[in-house]
Amino acid sequence: MSRIKSNIVISLLLAFISLVLYFFAKDFPDTSKNFPIIILLIILLLSLGQIGVSVYRFKNLNQKNFNIPITPLLVFGLSFFCVILMEYIGFFSSFAILFISLLFLFKIKNKKSYLLGAIILFFFIFIVFEFGLKVSLLKIGF
């Protein structure tokens, strides 16, 4: 997708969401609705303005395609999965899975130092949070 197309798609999406939320906010009690309604109208206007700016600014320029790389999205998916898993198998085991999964996803060659670094990080987190801040990470999920 080119930059101009992505700008227009995002702006249209924002305009649509703000319009839906505007009708939703209209049912709020009097004192509660004024401020959100003003903000939603501003977002709507700015989104429409952004479409105009995108067209004006990029109409004469060569459009290069740009993509969102897949790796960060996979990393996000894995992290989200580990957060869900954390509630069932605990913090440390869940994020050990994340570290090991990333070992394969990133195709890391220097496995020893990577895993050693992970162990040191886990130890550091354990000391700081369990003993320093009294946040019981071991109790998560149990």
């Binding site: 509660s32 004024n34 903000i39 952004q50 987190i125």
Partner: protein, 500 residues
């Protein structure tokens, strides 16, 4: 509380430990290209929950100032500024490194950074207390106008994307309205999620937007490591030579003053200050040709100015609640978390905290210089930490940090959703800083607006503008908007020229 008590409070074990830890972490973050002061402060924000307010704020301001200084190391050694504020340092610093004078460049950068930091600390100490008196004259109308003025900072925070910055700021304002309405108790935009009734927690949102999103950016190129060129370096010396210090002291002083003035302006950050100072140092130099060819004055000008911004950007923050930079916006959240409201109270009732933090900030700048000169020798090893390790480390610290806020898994979900949101914002060129500003200033603006509605006999706008302070703030708002538009148009013209 007298000066002696403030010093006693400052040099308690917890406070000294906070400064030492903050300086070390800040330097580490600044040294690693791709990691920013915002990320450091956001990541450490939850840790401060368990600390006393003085220690908490000392930790965060130490990270802030040290990260800015640490950014000069990669700028000098590998021509890759650790932070945008150090971009001007790279011009002359890297030339010196290629000539085998890495140590000289680091010595000058350290001297100038410490100098700038200390000057800004004293500026904070002497300018902030009298300025805070203005806040006593503030009522609902003035607070509303102040919040609006604060939001116009968006223009400068969103360099080159003014409309997108405004959209991001408005989304932040909208997100601040989610949850139970304070007056009527009506649950707004919760859609049946009970977790949203109390609103969106600011801290996990900040961690997600600045830390997790950065980890996702790093994972785009996981095998990337810094390539260090082998360069011979001069004999390692820790303290600057007298002749070097004498050569740059005037430049340091002038650049620090420029940095302080730029820092006070809301939204103008260290990068602007360092470029302005660099240009001014060049303009007034007798030997203009040395700039760009390893000029010590060039390094000093840039580094003194960007560190002078750190303290002075706290002046509008502590006195009026307007953040002077993105990091200051996160620090505003830290103040509110610890029950400290910007304004006169910070210098009276909570004076023991504020003055300890200001003196601690000065101390942190001194300490940062010693640590920096010591660790600079090992910079090569630190900078080689690969992205494939940094990315999961930041993810885990973000998760554990957001959980630690209230031992609550829901904060982790908030953080992770904002992380993805922040990453997509970066990819689509929507700056995340205005969103945070909107989230912070939203409740202030709404409360001011509603109270003005109640107090106004006739039109609410007439009531809001019917006093001198509001009028001044209104004029400043208009100037701020038009200057942002002007900057946007000038940048656009330059951009189109470069493209064509």
């Amino acid at each position: 509380m007298d000066s002696f008590e403030i010093l006693l409070n400052l040099f308690s074990f917890a406070n000294v430990a906070a400064v030492i830890f903050g300086v070390c972490i800040g330097l580490l973050i600044g040294m690693l290209p791709g990691l920013t002061a915002n990320l450091g402060v956001a990541l450490l924000l939850p840790i401060t929950y368990g600390l006393e307010p003085t220690s908490a704020l000392l930790l965060l301001v130490s990270v802030y100032t040290s990260a800015i200084y640490g950014g000069s190391f990669p700028a000098i050694l590998i021509n890759a500024p650790g932070t945008s504020a150090s971009a001007a340092t790279a011009i002359d610093g890297y030339v010196l490194t290629k000539e085998g004078k890495f140590n000289t460049a680091i010595r000058i950068s350290t001297f100038a950074s410490v100098f700038g930091g200390i000057v800004s600390g004293f500026a904070l100490l002497f300018i902030a207390p009298p300025l805070s008196l203005i806040s006593l004259k503030f009522g609902p109308a003035q607070y509303f106008m102040l919040a609006i003025f604060g939001l116009t900072i968006i223009g400068t925070l969103s360099s080159g994307n003014f409309v997108k910055g405004l959209i991001a700021g408005s989304i932040g304002l909208f997100l601040s309205t989610i949850g139970s309405d304070l007056d009527s108790g009506y649950p707004r935009f919760v859609f049946g999620f009970t977790g949203l009734v109390s609103g969106i927690n600011f801290v996990p949102a900040v961690i997600g937007l600045f830390s997790l999103s950065q980890a996702l950016v790093l994972s785009e190129d996981p095998l990337k490591t810094i390539q260090l060129n082998k360069v011979k370096t001069d004999r390692w010396q820790f303290l600057p030579k007298l002749i070097e210090a004498h050569k740059v002291v005037i430049t340091c002083f002038v650049s620090s003053i420029i940095g302080v003035l730029v820092g006070i302006l809301p939204g103008a950050g260290g990068d602007i200050a360092s470029w302005v100072s660099y240009n001014e140092a060049k303009r007034f130099s007798k030997n203009k040709l040395e700039f760009g060819k390893g000029s010590l004055k060039g390094i000093a000008a840039s580094e003194a100015a960007n560190n002078a911004v750190t303290g002075s950007s706290l002046i509008p923050l502590l006195t009026l609640g307007i953040p002077g930079s993105t990091t200051a916006a996160i620090l505003l959240g830290a103040l509110l978390i610890h029950g400290l409201v910007p304004g006169r109270e910070l210098f009276t009732i909570n004076g023991h905290i504020t003055y300890s933090v200001i003196w601690g900030f000065i101390f942190a700048n001194l300490f940062m210089g010693f640590v920096g000169l010591f660790v600079a020798r090992y910079f090569g090893k630190i900078a080689k930490i690969p992205n494939y390790f940094l990315a999961p480390a930041i993810i885990i610290l973000s998760v554990v940090g957001s959980y630690a806020i209230g031992n609550n898994i829901q904060d982790v979900y908030t953080m992770i959703i904002f992380g993805l949101f922040g990453y997509l914002m970066r990819k689509f060129n929507y700056p995340p800083a205005p969103l945070i500003l909107g989230l912070i200033l939203g409740p202030i603006a709404e409360t001011g607006f509603r109270q003005s509605q109640i107090l106004a006999n006739e039109g609410v706008l007439l009531y809001i503008l019917n006093n001198n302070i509001s009028l001044i703030l209104f004029v400043l708002t208009v100037i701020s908007i038009f200057s942002a538009i002007y900057l946007e148009l000038t940048k656009k013209t330059n951009y189109e020229k470069n493209i064509s």
